[in-house]
Symmetry: C2
Subunit: 445 residues, 2 copies
Amino acid sequence: MDLANLNWLSATDATRLIRDGVISSQQLVEACLARVREVDADVQAWAFLDPDHALAQARAADEWRMSGQPTGPLHGVPVGVKDIIDTADMPTENGSVLHAGRTPSRDATVVSMLRAAGAVILGKTVTTELATRTPGKTRNPHNPAHTPGGSSSGSAAAVAAGMVPLALGSQTTGSTIRPASYCGVYGFKPTHGLIPRHGMLELSRTLDHVGLFARSLEDLALLMEELAGYDERDPDSRPRARVPYRDVLAEEPPLPPVFAFVKGRVWDRVEADAKAAFAELAGVLGDRVEEVELTPADEVLAWHDAISGAEIAVSLRREWETGRERLSEALRSRIERGRNVLACDYLAARARIRQLNESLIELFEQRYDAILTPAAFGTAPEGLDSTGDPAPCALWTFTGMPALSVPLMQGANGLPLGVQLVAPCHWDARLLRTARWLVARVAGG
Amino acid sequence: MDLANLNWLSATDATRLIRDGVISSQQLVEACLARVREVDADVQAWAFLDPDHALAQARAADEWRMSGQPTGPLHGVPVGVKDIIDTADMPTENGSVLHAGRTPSRDATVVSMLRAAGAVILGKTVTTELATRTPGKTRNPHNPAHTPGGSSSGSAAAVAAGMVPLALGSQTTGSTIRPASYCGVYGFKPTHGLIPRHGMLELSRTLDHVGLFARSLEDLALLMEELAGYDERDPDSRPRARVPYRDVLAEEPPLPPVFAFVKGRVWDRVEADAKAAFAELAGVLGDRVEEVELTPADEVLAWHDAISGAEIAVSLRREWETGRERLSEALRSRIERGRNVLACDYLAARARIRQLNESLIELFEQRYDAILTPAAFGTAPEGLDSTGDPAPCALWTFTGMPALSVPLMQGANGLPLGVQLVAPCHWDARLLRTARWLVARVAGG
């Protein structure tokens, strides 16, 4: 076992090796911390990282195992947590000077779930300002002159740079799928409400999702088994039967999947090299992909804006009232617009969510296993003043459908480019299985 | 058996007598129709009533029983249905000329549930204009110069006048509790979402409830067993364990109940004779009642108005766009106000619902079985231009808590006056049991 490269292990492999006594959690966490020292001066993925505290958690995990206690499914595995998700033992500053020094008294539900599974919370990853559009300090690990995307900038970059195998983020428009695409990792936004959001900064109850980052589909399935669950404190969480994500992922699809290639209204803005990459991918897929037009989605950006604007204005009311001069100009004007949204426009937009889901489900039930569509307009843009445009993600966040960015392609500049796969609500496990088929097809293709 | 007075039987007695072959459903329905002929020229409770169709349903129920088939819990019992609840075999005109001649293709969920239990749908009862404030033709059966209350005017009046033992209504502010109080019958608004609303005119998803009318608590419990249930087409319906309402009602409370007498901000406007009646009731209850002040509820009328206004504006958008000149002036101005509600005010009001429930539950868990509070400002006002003021009901509709009007008192004019009992969400069965204790206590003096 090459101890120097343990940081590149998948979580699935790492937890098995820890359980079997081949490596210790301390060795794994030391390798990750070494990688942080090596690359993070350039990448700057972490809002908070206390190496001693991380190692103390790792040693406790090792002692627990050595004492003969049963180990959890993520035993000893380090996880990065976006700094809008509360941790009782580390600050949670939400990417805003208004929350500097904020230390929550409790873990968010997902952090409790990670700890219950045996995970080590390595540190808190950089977010944009209050998980909106104004960038944090993180840079793209593939080229530090380029944005990593956002708002889950640090989580995507940390996983991509091999500083941690898993990280949690969030998505209200495109905050998981876009940075995953830009950084060349898997990013997964499961069905709305499936992973409880209690203890995470609330921007928009209707649109907020927990997002997951990993370097393999197996690791996403492993995380899903721990994090998909009921929490009565999240009003959109419901009790549901447990899904064996890893078993479903490992199955062969009963028939080879068929993909609906949806270009959508955003296609005109997709960059030429990305269009070429999609054409090449479509060539590999042959008769397993068909181009499909979705007309009802034309106004989705306006509907998304009405809902997110109004809900953000309410969620950030205290920040607005007590410190608006310390918000970015962009966020201030977004809140101002949100404060003027009419309730009837908000409610009309809300009503579209169900309607769109009902019309889209037909597409899948009739013929398709997944929609295949751009995760972003192209590779990570140069410059750090913007985290890029989330528009290609808006419809799938709006509908609450599971969306996955698969790091399958490259741009002309050599930077990574994700393929976004989307499925109906609660087809999460099947979507991961469909993605596995796609990855194997491309690799074999 | 005095066949002439069968119309005054409770549903509980009637369905037992039908099951045992002592009376037929046809005899029962004939007695109800005879009572309609006798009094409805004065009361005008019915928007639609076809005696032949009602009798055909009754004869079918009798034939079913005679063929040896098992009978349902409401077998052969006539029920009145508010004319905002869809029936596939009768018009449903929603109290608006804009919907004149409207004949739905399907039964509302509650109507399907009634038919599945063996009930006869006697006819459709008068509603105010689109279940809002502009009166229909119905008069108070105790004195036709007085309003029956609204918006479930016909349902309350029909049950009070002995034209039918049971009727369905609705409540978005005070549309069940107030007419029940004015007409001297039991009116019950169960917990929000407990009875599915699919197929009922939607005014306000957040505030709309199905309401029930009967002349006994046993009959309400019987109805609850049939109508409380899950329907995925109502977004606020949830799968829940079945509750044996009749068994719970029949139990003795483990301890004599304690009531919290809540006068609230509306007390100043309660009429003198109603205040005197409450004082007398409190005297009978002695140490089983304590006066409690609820301060957080002061702004509830404004919050209720923001939510109902905005949601009604969306729900009645088509009526507004295609026929606003045929809406009443009062409804037009309500919609206009609702169209101007800001989404952030709407959302702030929505957030109060959970907060109020959380603060109120403490009151009950610490000490009280039910809140005891006015159902209305007094007896039914004279005149037919208004259905009276729903303000005393607004808080309990806003919170979604179960509320019951118990016909226990009288005003100085001899007209009935209800006592409103309220309990936390999902204490519905216990609330009925508490009411039974109260009625027995008052009868025992």
